[in-house]
Symmetry: C2
Subunit: 323 residues, 2 copies
C-alpha cells in the first residue's frame, strides 16, 4: 500500500504530465494549464487513488478518474471565481483577471470537456457507471454553486439549507472521487456506497472547518486572509447561526448596510458576536459529529482495518487541520 505522501506524489506527477502545450489556439488552453499549475491540496484525486488502493496495489486504473475529477474541480474554481468576481486564487490572479471574462468562460468550457476526456480513459468495462456518477455529481455541484449565489441575496437561509448547499457544492465530489476509485477496482456496491457516504461526511466537516478557519484560523498557515467571509457577508454556518439571534441580527445588519468601514473593525465586531454566541464551539461540535459519522461509514467497509488506516488518517487530518 502507498502512504499518503506517495499517493500525492503520484497525483502531482500525473497532473504535471497533462499538457496542453501543443493545443491551439494557445489563448484557449493557457488558462487551463495556468489554473492546474496553481496546485491546491489535490485531496480529491488522492482520495480516488486511496480508494482504489484499498483493493489492489496498482492504482493505475484510478488515474483517469483522479485526473478527471481534479480537472473538473479546477474548472468549477475557474467559473466560480468569475461569477464571484474573485481576484485572487491560491495567491495568484484569477483567470478572468489575468486574461478576461470571455477567456474565463470559454477556457472553463474547454476544461469541463477535458475533464470528460480524462474520465473516458477508464477501463471501458466500468465506463458507464463511472461516467453516470461523474455527470450526476457535476450537475449537483452546479446546483450547489447556484444555491450559494442565491443565499447571498437571502437573510433567511436555514441551517438545513446551508448543509444541503455545502453537500452539493463540496461534499459530493469527495464522495464521487472515493466511490469511483472503488468501482474501477471492482469493489462491490455496498463498499462503494460506504465510501461515498464517508466522502459526504468528511466533505461536510471539511467545509464547516473551512468556514471556521476563515474566522479563527492562523493567517499564515491558512493561506487566505482571515475574515474574508465576514467582509463579504458570506452566509456561512457561523453567520446563519448568528442571524438566528435577534440582537445579533440587528448588529450584523448594521454592518451589512455600512458603506464605509475599517475592515479590521468589522472582522473584530463580527467575531465578537460569534464568540458571544459560542458559535466556534457549536461549529466544532457539528464537525466532530460528521467526523464520527464518517468513521462509522469507514468501519462498515468490508476490508481489513489495516488497509483503511490511510483513510482514517486523512479524515483526522482534514478535521484537525489549521490550514
Amino acid at each position: 500500500m502507498y502512504s499518503f505522501d506517495e499517493i500525492l506524489d503520484i497525483v502531482n506527477l500525473e497532473i504535471e504530465k497533462i499538457s496542453y502545450n501543443h493545443y491551439t489556439p494557445k489563448t484557449l488552453f493557457d488558462p487551463i494549464s495556468y489554473i492546474l499549475s496553481l496546485g491546491g491540496k489535490r485531496v480529491r484525486p488522492a482520495l480516488s487513488l486511496m480508494a482504489c488502493n484499498l483493493y489492489q496495489e496498482d492504482v493505475t486504473p484510478a488515474i483517469p478518474i483522479a485526473l478527471g475529477i481534479e480537472v473538473f474541480h479546477n474548472f468549477t474554481l475557474l467559473h466560480d471565481d468569475l461569477m464571484d468576481r474573485a481576484d485572487v486564487r491560491r495567491g495568484k490572479p484569477t483567470v478572468h483577471i489575468k486574461w478576461d471574462d470571455n477567456t474565463a468562460v470559454l477556457s472553463g468550457d474547454a476544461m469541463l470537456i477535458e475533464a470528460y476526456k480524462e474520465i473516458a480513459k477508464v477501463n471501458p468495462k466500468y465506463l458507464l457507471p463511472i461516467l453516470d456518477l461523474f455527470s450526476v455529481t457535476a450537475t449537483e455541484i452546479c446546483c450547489g454553486q447556484q444555491l450559494d449565489m442565491e443565499f447571498e441575496k437571502r437573510m433567511d437561509v436555514t441551517i438545513p439549507e446551508y448543509i444541503e448547499m455545502i453537500r452539493l457544492k463540496t461534499a459530493v465530489l469527495l464522495g464521487c472521487a472515493l466511490k469511483e476509485g472503488a468501482i474501477i477496482c471492482g469493489a462491490d456496491d455496498a463498499d462503494a456506497d460506504h465510501l461515498y457516504d464517508f466522502g459526504i461526511k468528511i466533505g461536510l466537516a471539511f467545509q464547516l472547518k473551512d468556514d471556521l478557519l476563515d474566522v479563527y484560523g492562523d493567517a499564515e498557515s491558512f493561506g487566505k486572509r482571515i475574515g474574508g467571509d465576514i467582509l463579504c457577508n458570506k452566509k456561512t454556518f457561523l453567520l446563519i447561526n448568528a442571524l438566528a439571534d435577534e440582537s445579533a441580527k440587528r448588529e450584523l445588519i448594521g454592518w451589512f448596510d455600512k458603506k464605509d468601514f475599517i475592515e479590521a473593525e468589522k472582522i473584530k465586531a463580527v467575531t465578537a458576536i460569534y464568540d458571544r454566541l459560542n458559535l466556534k464551539q457549536k461549529s466544532e461540535k457539528l464537525i466532530t459529529e460528521y467526523y464520527e459519522k464518517a468513521i462509522v461509514c469507514l468501519k462498515q467497509i468490508n476490508i481489513d482495518d489495516s488497509r483503511k488506516k490511510i483513510l482514517y488518517d486523512v479524515a483526522e487530518s482534514l478535521m484537525f487541520r489549521n490550514s
Copy 2:
C-alpha cells in the same frame, strides 16, 4: 425510410420530452428549458437520425446522439451570446439578458453536462467511440469560437484561416452528428468517415451561405436583420476578401473608425464594395464547390443511392435556401 418532415417531427417530439421541470434550483434549469424551447432549424439532430436511417428503419438508437448534440449546440449558443454580448436569439432575449451573466455562465455549464448525460444513454457497445468523437468535436467548437473572437481584433485574417475557423465552429458538429448516427447503427468505418466528410463540406457551405444571406438575403425570410455582420465588422468571407483589396480596405477602415453613422448608410456602402469586387459571385462559386465535394462524399457511401436521396435533398436545400 422516413421523410425529412417525419425526421423533424421525431426530433421535435423528443426535444419536447426533455424536461427539467422537476429539477431544482429552478433558476439553474429554467434557462436551459428556455433556450431549447426557442427552436431553430434542428438540422443537427435531424442529420443524426437520417444517418441512422440509411442503415435501418428504426432510428431510436440515434435519439440520444441527436438530443446530446442539440443540447450541446444550444449550450454553445447560450455561452456564445454571453461572450458576444448578443441581446437577441431567434427573436427573443438571450439568457444573460432575460436573467443575468452569472446565470448564463452556470446554466450553460449545467447544459453542457446535460448534453453528456444524453450521449451516455447510447447503446453501451458504442459508448466509447461516440463519447470520444463527441468530446473531440466539443473541443474543436470551443477552438472555433476562440478563433472567431480573436479574428475580431485582427485585420490580417486570411481566407484559409477563416475556412478553418468555420470548419471548427460550425462544420465539425454536422460531421459528428452524421458520423455518430451511422456508428450507432453499426456502419463500417469507411462509410462513417464519408458521412463525416459530407458533414464538413455542407457545414462549410452552410456557413458561407449564412454570411451571404446576412448581406444579400431577404430580411423577412432570413429571420435576422440584414447587414448585422456589416454593422459589427464581422470578419466574414466577404469582408476578408474585401480587405485584401487596398482601396476597399481604406474605405472599410474609414467605416470601422466611425463612431457616429447611419446604419443603413454603412450597410449600403459596404454592400457596394462587395458588389464592386464581385464577392457575391466569388462566395457562390465557393459554396458550389463545397456542395459538389459534399455530393462526392455522399456517392462514396456503400449504400443504395435511393436511401441517400434524403441527404442529397438536405444538401441541396441548405445550399439553395433563402433563410
